[in-house]
Amino acid sequence: DTAVSQTPKYLVTQMGNDKSIKCEQNLGHDTMYWYKQDSKKFLKIMFSYNNKELIINETVPNRFSPKSPDKAHLNLHINSLELGDSAVYFCASSLITDTQYFGPGTRLTVL
C-alpha cells in the first residue's frame, strides 16, 4: 500500500564508507526526487529524475549520484561519506512538477 517507500530507515556508518539508499514509488509518477533535510528542518533538493533522465542537479558534491533503473525507482549512492553528510534524506515522486509525495525518510548518521 505504501506509495513512496525508502530503505533503510536508519543508516549508521563510518566516515569514508560508501552507502546506498533505495527508493520506490508505486504511484505511476514520472518524476522522482531526492531531498536532504538538515537539523534545522530545511529541505534542500538534491536531484530529480524524469523518465530516467536527470533534469536538475543542484550544487551537491559529486560523491552523491542518483541511479534510476526504471521509472519506479531512484536510488541514491554516496561515496566517501563525510560527517557533514549526516542528515535525513527524503525521496519524493510526482507527475511532472505537480504535487510531490514524500517517502518516510532515511536518517543517515556518519561517525
Binding site: 513512496v4 526526487y33 534545522k40 528542518k41 530545511f42 529541505l43 533538493i45 530529480s48 524524469n50 533534469i55 536538475i56 527524503f90 519524493a92 512538477t97 505537480d98 504535487t99 510531490q100 509525495y101 514524500f102 517517502g103 518516510p104 525518510g105
Partner: protein, 112 residues
C-alpha cells in the same frame, strides 16, 4: 494564534483555537502553491494546494489563502487538535521550474 513564517518559526496554540501559519514566497511568477505537514520522524505530507487563479481554497478544517499582490500565503487550521502538532512547510512552483521550492517551515505546537 498567528505566526509570520521566517520571523516566528514556532507557533504555540491552545487546543480548540484556530491557527494561522504564514508564508512569504519569493517569485512573483509562481503559480502553484502547496502546504505540507511534517510530523516527527515522518516525511512531509500533502495538506492542501492552490493555484494562482484562486485566492482561497478550503479543505477539511484547513483553508489556504493566497495574496499575490504581496506574495503571501497562509494556512488556517480550525479547531486545532494535538494531532496537528508538526512542522508546516509552504512550497511554490513557477512555469519552467522542474521542482518545488520549499520555505523554511513553522513548528506548530498544540497545548492540550
Amino acid at each position: 494564534g498567528e505566526s509570520v513564517g521566517l520571523h516566528l518559526p514556532t507557533l504555540s496554540v491552545q487546543e480548540g483555537d484556530n491557527s494561522i501559519i504564514n508564508c512569504a514566497y519569493s517569485n512573483s511568477a509562481s503559480d502553484y502553491f502547496i502546504w505540507y505537514k511534517q510530523e516527527s520522524g515522518k516525511g512531509p505530507q500533502f495538506i492542501i494546494d492552490i493555484r494562482s487563479n484562486m485566492d482561497k481554497r478550503q479543505g477539511q478544517r484547513v483553508t489556504v489563502l493566497l495574496n499575490k499582490t504581496v506574495k503571501h500565503l497562509s494556512l488556517q487550521i480550525a479547531a486545532t487538535q494535538p494531532g496537528d502538532s508538526a512542522v508546516y512547510f509552504c512550497a511554490e512552483n513557477y512555469p519552467g521550474a522542474n521542482n518545488l521550492f520549499f520555505g523554511t517551515g513553522t513548528r506548530l505546537t498544540v497545548i492540550p
